[in-house]
Symmetry: C2
Subunit: 462 residues, 2 copies
């Protein structure tokens, strides 16, 4: 037993903050499969990404070998405004569950974007500024990424156009206002402002949108305008690189406490938080230093890891992006409009997909109502109202802790609490009033998505 | 110049957290005037408060002599879940203003209630529980206090009825949902559920409510039911006592940095934050140890300190409470419904009123749009979206910093950032779209409020 007194919340000091991001690919026994040019079906050269992404970010995207990247001074300065984020011991939750397990969580919601998304937004806006880019475009689902990027662009003085998934735009009327505080333009997607948006609307006029659609529109809007680039808040390798700050801080804080997690649990939509949270722990696992279990938690309504296929797919619905090999439901998959719990993306980070495929990581899925049940329990016990996305990780951590209650094991559980739920009250209201639906796609519904997978040699036999 | 490196954010450790609250009255050269029984016009005995307040809280309310109160262990345990709150150096704001001043702020918004209100809510719910009370009633204006008390009551297992000022209820649809997560019942006020509510509605059917109305209803609802008590989130001496944790932590954190404020700035509605923030600095001032300036900032639309009268008045519109001597606009004053910036209470903490009357404190007022202008500037520079209430203090601090730019003085400014604005997006939208009104009461409108002041001997010549 450690003699160290365990506080409720541990903040690293500024001096203890990581000054480098960690690139998980450098320690993977096998690299994720390369991005493909959809025209030639050949691996993409970094230069082919330059019209879409800033050059520094394109290079980060393609670089599997450099283990550590210095965090630019200017980015560190912004990080210091809201980081380090606290590592919190969930004493009350442990007590309420009657578990011998120790539950820690890394809370990323203490900034105006309300989530971890700011970590990559700041980095991407910085590199855009450094390259002289004057306008960025992006998509947002639940609105956290859009808010984070609005903040970052406002800080660095860059114009921003956000395509927001239509059902979120309607469910979260105030998200637009927050982005407006930071001078961003917000358009519900699909929209008539882009060619791909008009095409999607023509084919499916009643669509409530998806991240895949919004990505198509944002990419088109960037590549057809001058001095603009597109940025993405998840899925990409560069995003996982920036988000490694979460895991690095978590590991340093746990070391301060003399702790190391037996299980690391994170929610997974496109993988931005999960990939960042687990990065240094996965490093330990891959290098044989430790052997923590790593658990991805996803919604049963959009189950890319647990029910998807490991295949080459487009990152967007309009098929304007390169193809990535990942766990996917097919770029044509659109989750139920009733699903309010975020994490609605059809695919999954190629890095995480590869690690899952190679069995370094587990995955579970939960239905919407059980996730909100966990969220409400957590809010009452821990004084934080979680975002529905984050609540998936809470549910996963609770289940791990309950297993410990049965087995009597005193495991140490770490989960990522990615953000706050202040803009998700419509969903909370639905849960509290008992009107929340629990739709899980049927095999037939999934098949419709799989039917949209690219028919290319690389996907034969999948 | 201090050799110490100044971090962006300083968190005290758990061990450094105050274990006692500080009772500012113990060091005041003259005590605030006593509460009066409105029937007898005689000073109230503590026992007369027992039907309204829990006994321990009633005793705190009446005790001007005990300097320090031990914070109960159970309350400390909850404080540790969200405290210490950070002391933050506003480096970006300083730079943008081009001021030689150093600007620090104490940020109280990092909990689900989104504000400092939780500090007193936890204490009041704890004492209720300790006395075996099973139900509490309260009012809420902007919704922060109601949310905080919902959290605290849920934690201690106490039923809660919240009367929410009608215009806030309508402007902030999701506040009710957050309170619902914590099982509170929320009623828009004035309501037909109480006698006083029915009376107010009959006299003024179109009223958008006021804190004064909501207090009347909550008090009636408590005293006419079994095993219920009423609790209030501001104005009262007991609330200032609990909120002293803000100032005590601020002072300890500044000492860590080798700093002491030349000016302390806080927003003032009923005085809960301001009284707590300034407590130990005012102690230094009253005891001659230091001489900081203390500045209260209030809205020009509800200017109790800057345009009110120092008189005995009811704390509520329905005139069911004891009378307190304070700066007041009259319990019949109802601020403009277009005023979205919070701080809508007609009176002011008797302690702060006395200190202001005795010239230990200054006060300024600002119009709504200039406050929101400061809020948007701050959000962009400091990554925190402030509550409109808190933005009054931001505006006050900015003006102090601008004076330093003119004079070249390197003053140290401390202000209280009481909370976040996630539930105030309707107001932000109004500001951003240019439709926000800037109504300031005319002398005639003020006179209507003054006409409701009690016509008692104690108010002669006021």
């Amino acid at each position: 037993m450690s003699a160290k007194k365990i506080p409720h919340r541990l903040y690293l000091t500024e001096d203890q903050m990581p000054r480098q991001w960690y690139n998980l690919r450098a320690d993977m026994p096998e690299q994720p499969d390369p991005l493909l040019n959809p025209g030639t079906l050949r691996p993409l050269a970094v230069e082919e990404l330059y019209p879409i992404f800033c050059e520094a970010l394109a290079r980060q995207e393609m670089d599997g070998s450099k283990r550590y990247y210095d965090i630019p001074e200017e980015v560190q300065e912004v990080y210091k405004m809201y980081r380090p984020s606290p590592l919190i011991r969930a004493f009350n939750l442990e007590k309420a569950l009657g578990t011998p397990a120790k539950i820690y969580y890394k809370f990323e919601g203490n900034n105006t974007s309300g989530s971890h998304k700011l970590n990559s937004a700041v980095a991407q806006a910085y590199y855009a500024k450094a390259q002289g880019i004057t306008r960025l475009t992006t998509e947002t689902g639940a609105g956290q990424w859009g808010t984070a990027l609005s903040e970052a662009c406002s800080y660095f003085g860059i114009d921003l156009d956000v395509f927001m998934v239509k059902c979120s735009y309607e469910q979260k009327p105030f998200r637009k206002a927050v982005m407006g505080v930071f001078d961003a333009n917000v358009t519900p997607s699909p929209s008539p402002t882009t060619e791909v948006g008009r095409k999607i609307l023509a084919e499916n006029p009643g669509t409530t949108g998806s991240l895949g659609c919004a990505i198509s529109e944002a990419v088109e809007s960037a590549v057809t305008a001058g001095n603009s680039r597109y940025v993405l808040g998840s899925v990409l390798n560069q995003v996982l690189l920036h988000q490694s700050i979460i895991g690095l801080e978590s590991k340093a804080a746990m070391e301060e406490l003399g702790e190391y997690p037996d299980v690391v649990v994170g929610c997974a939509g496109g993988g931005s938080n999960l990939g960042g949270l687990i990065a240094p722990f996965m490093q330990d696992k891959l290098t044989g230093k430790h052997d923590p279990r790593i658990v991805a938690v996803e919604p049963a309504s959009c189950p890319s890891l647990t029910r998807g296929k490991y295949a080459y797919d487009f990152c967007d619905t309009g098929k304007v992006t390169p193809m990535a090999r990942m766990y996917t439901l097919g770029s044509g998959f659109i989750p139920s409009a009733n699903h309010a719990g975020g994490l609605r993306y059809h695919g999954m980070s190629p890095i995480l997909s590869k690690l899952y495929h190679d069995k370094f990581m587990e995955a579970v899925s939960y239905r919407q109502t059980e996730v909100f049940e966990a969220a409400v329990l957590f809010a009452k016990l821990e004084t934080i109202l979680p975002a529905p996305e984050s609540a998936h990780a809470i549910k996963g951590a609770i289940d791990e802790a309950m297993k410990c209650r049965e087995s009597g094991e005193e495991k140490t559980i770490l989960f990522g609490l990615t953000g706050t739920g202040y803009f998700d009250m419509t969903a909370y209201e639905a849960y509290l009033s008992g009107t929340m639906s629990d739709h899980v796609p049927t095999d037939e519904e999934l098949q419709k998505g799989f039917d949209t997978l690219p028919d290319i040699p690389q996907n034969k036999g999948i």
